[in-house]
Assembly symmetry: C2
Homo-oligomer: 207 residues x 2
């Protein structure tokens, strides 16, 4: 099922709710109110109720959310109810950091392949994965890997995106600080680290 | 000057407008309409006008924005009109990638210091910076470095944040996938890579 008119900002918050709900469930908590959840996350209860209302809202007024339901519903909405596989392209410093990142598994996400153009890296093991030649990106389709992570230099990013899409990738997480052109059916989320740092001074009060 | 009731989402988009305005200005473009700017950035003209309206709006109806004015206004709003200095803590793979990141200078941002707890890294040069012992974080105040970037393991992040704040840091970019508690006067922006990847499957249509 695909939901309509759900803002990207709402989708971005769902994994935060999900992670917290998983922790609560691990802590044997059965039920949580939007107020409690909000105070744990630094958002407003209103925001949580509004976000979940796009999907029918599944809390009970005056009681709150059943934690197990919250986990399974959000997993289903985000299509994280099965293990999802991504391919990483670019095993430089950033790519290596991403491979070593501990946070993916808790979302049933798996980086199932890593590629690089550098022959000295190809064939070497990184975090349990053998780095493959970027020329082999075309194999992703038969391996049922439909998400890509781009951690290559700026000027190579568009070509890699094109190759990923040719190989059947439908969603891309892009770390190159540039706009990537893709067909409408493909989703790109760009994490441009400089943009975030550029926001910070705004919040630093003048002396 | 501090503006009131400006949504964080607006602040997050300003650096995108700024970067594009800088490129236009480098290309000798004198004037740009919100429509042209929007088409270059993949947002709506309405969004751009709305975002800039928080700051008085500085376009001319039917003409658009003077590019030079756009650059200088946004720089001023974001307090990027002087070089801003940040300290990086954690020179692992992610920290090294951040140090090598080419995108900061175009925003007049400078990573002016790098720290690590690992004695084997301390004293070594990385991207022109000598890595310092994390025990020396207290020196940031006298060096007028008031922003911090946390690229340390999850379980060390809160302590590092506390130390940064003690040293006078007022805004933090945090890459550790956890909520960091800070006093109200301090701004934290967390970039949790797993959260972004967890959003992607939502956009991948079912088979």
């Amino acid at each position: 099922m695909r939901y309509y008119r759900v803002p990207d900002e709402t989708i971005k918050r769902l994994p935060i709710y999900l992670r917290r709900a998983i922790r609560l469930s691990e802590g044997q908590v059965k039920c949580v109110s939007s107020k409690e959840l909000a105070s744990l996350l630094g958002v407003t209860p209103w925001q949580i109720r509004k976000d979940l209302s796009y999907f029918g809202g599944f809390g009970t007024r005056g009681v709150g959310y059943n934690v197990e339901n919250l986990v399974s519903h959000i997993r289903e909405i985000l299509r994280l109810d099965v293990v999802r596989k991504a391919a990483l392209v670019g095993v430089g410093n950033l790519g290596s950091a991403i491979l070593a990142f501990p946070g993916f598994r808790s979302y049933w996400l798996e980086i199932a392949a890593a590629f690089d153009i550098d022959k000295r890296k190809v064939g070497k093991k990184r975090n349990g994965l053998v780095v493959e030649d970027v020329a082999l990106l075309g194999t992703l389709k038969e391996r049922r890997i439909d998400m890509g992570i781009i951690a290559v230099p700026d000027d190579a990013a568009q070509n890699i995106a094109d190759d990923l899409i040719k190989a059947g990738v439908k969603a891309i997480l892009n770390f190159a600080p540039r706009y990537i052109e893709v067909p409408k059916r493909v989703k790109v989320i760009t994490i441009d680290i400089a943009l975030y740092l550029a926001c910070l001074p705004y919040y630093v009060p003048s002396k």
